[in-house]
Symmetry: C2
Subunit: 258 residues, 2 copies
DNA sequence: CCAGAAATTAACCCGTTGGATAATTACTGT
DNA sequence: ACAGTAATTATCCAACGGGTTAATTTCTGG
């Protein structure tokens, strides 16, 4: 969504207490949706509280119904907004002019960083899947928002195979899902995994290591080469990083999980 | 858990109406936990209804509190049971005597099939992560149940590298997470992905294709070979399958997602 | 066979929560 | 300036849902 003056701080709730109050329909709607996004992401559909959303948005509960609708309408609006946002960002990624391996690397990095920057997106997807996509199915809007990534991957892979960079040609859909998988699962399940492994998977070194592993894994599969730290200081899309498989079978190291 | 006479049918609820009723503490407890598992998996913590669990278990609501505890206790018991179950099955997998590549394949297949056979497990994990592992953290029981897979992977990879089967040695933890990722994400998010791609990812051919892709991807990365359908009719752990990357860049094919 | 404990049922309680109704206040065009 | 509409506030409420209390029934050991 485009910036709106009353959009930044999440609880500038009272900033509107100028004498009595002033009108701001669009701003109100945005604050409601933002608050709803946080609430649904944090508590799921059933766990979300309409009153909390209202409070967080600095609004009266009645406003939610006035501007968006009931709880489910609210949820769907949030979900659609989330898809719109990622699709919009996806479209900004231009891979056409890159060497195929680097294009794939960029793709992985973008996806990974998007997930890191938008944890609510992960939560919302999980919530929606818990609901078996009951709401998505009704949303013609989302169904018409196709990700450009599948086609991007198709052309990149084709190009890579033609140029000899890649040994095999994977199904773009499968590869797309795999790239999403590797990052999504790690981040989405970081809480339980951190407990199981007895170490914090969200601290920077762990995340850096994960990104390097994902890139190395996918590129190794595509190129057939063990992809030793290939250069190109290329300041990655959002975060430069090491890119090798972590040292050879790192022995029991720090992990306390046998 | 071990079989108990009054365990099989889920709604044999009334089978206990022998005149008035008869006692069956253990059976009751099991039915309660099974019902709770389904309920929590289907609706999450906040969405779960204590009354529904009771009804499904063929019990009075009071029984839940008598045999297990309040809603949260119930949830934690379910979660711990889920971890116990998967850990138990994991221990039955013996990879030591297999060739490294085949061992990895078996591992992937096992994980994949376990997820398919236990959809509630996926849902529970998602639910717990939505709660930021709030309950897991309190469970000393689960924290002490280490997966044997990480060590299995470590030895297999080491062996594979020594024998020359594998070109690179990956960090076992990363590889473990990656293998889980590839299957987990696909299945856990199949509902939304199916809507987005406009095709049912859960029908058999799609699932078979996914398994083949996962195996090919991981093995290609490890061996450096494009892993063309390597043989060994090896009747996979639970489901034999094709194992190549799907045909070369399958053109727009059936997919309606550009 | 019977007393006490264990298991189970039946009924109720009360805070929460989504949603609705109605009254108030701020804008807008004319 | 003012009428009409849009935006917002202030209350209310009925149902839902987790948890509890108390009465009932079955089982077991002596």
């Amino acid at each position: 969504m485009h910036d709106h003056p009353s959009d930044r701080s999440t609880d500038l709730a009272k900033a509107k207490r100028t004498l009595k109050w002033q009108r701001d329909p669009e701003g109100m709607r945005l604050r409601i949706l933002e608050a709803a996004k946080q609430e649904f992401a944090a508590h799921g559909i059933a766990g979300a509280r309409v009153d909390r959303i209202a409070a967080e948005a600095g609004a009266n509960k009645r406003m939610l119904y006035y501007h968006v609708g009931n709880k489910e309408d609210l949820y769907l609006a949030v979900l659609e907004g989330a898809y719109e946002k990622i699709r919009a960002e996806e479209r900004t990624l231009d891979l056409e002019h890159l060497d195929p391996p680097e294009a794939i690397e960029r793709l992985i990095e973008f996806t990974w960083n998007y997930f890191i920057r938008n944890p609510e997106f992960l939560a919302l997807l999980n919530t929606e899947n818990l609901a078996r996509a009951r709401h998505l199915k009704r949303s013609t809007k989302v169904k018409s928002m196709h990700s450009p990534f599948v086609e991007m991957i198709r052309t990149v892979v084709t190009r890579g195979v033609a140029r000899g960079d890649f040994k095999v040609a994977m199904d773009p859909v499968q590869l797309y899902i795999s790239i999403a998988s590797l990052g999504f699962f790690y981040l989405s399940n970081s809480a339980t995994l951190s407990v199981i492994f007895g170490r914090d998977l969200l601290k920077k070194p762990a995340k850096d290591e994960r990104l390097a592993h994902m890139v190395a894994l996918v590129l190794a599969a595509l190129t057939g080469k063990s992809t030793a730290s290939f250069g190109k200081g290329s300041a990655a899309v959002e975060k430069p990083n090491v890119r090798t498989f972590s040292r050879v079978v790192p022995a029991k190291a720090g992990t306390h999980n046998p």
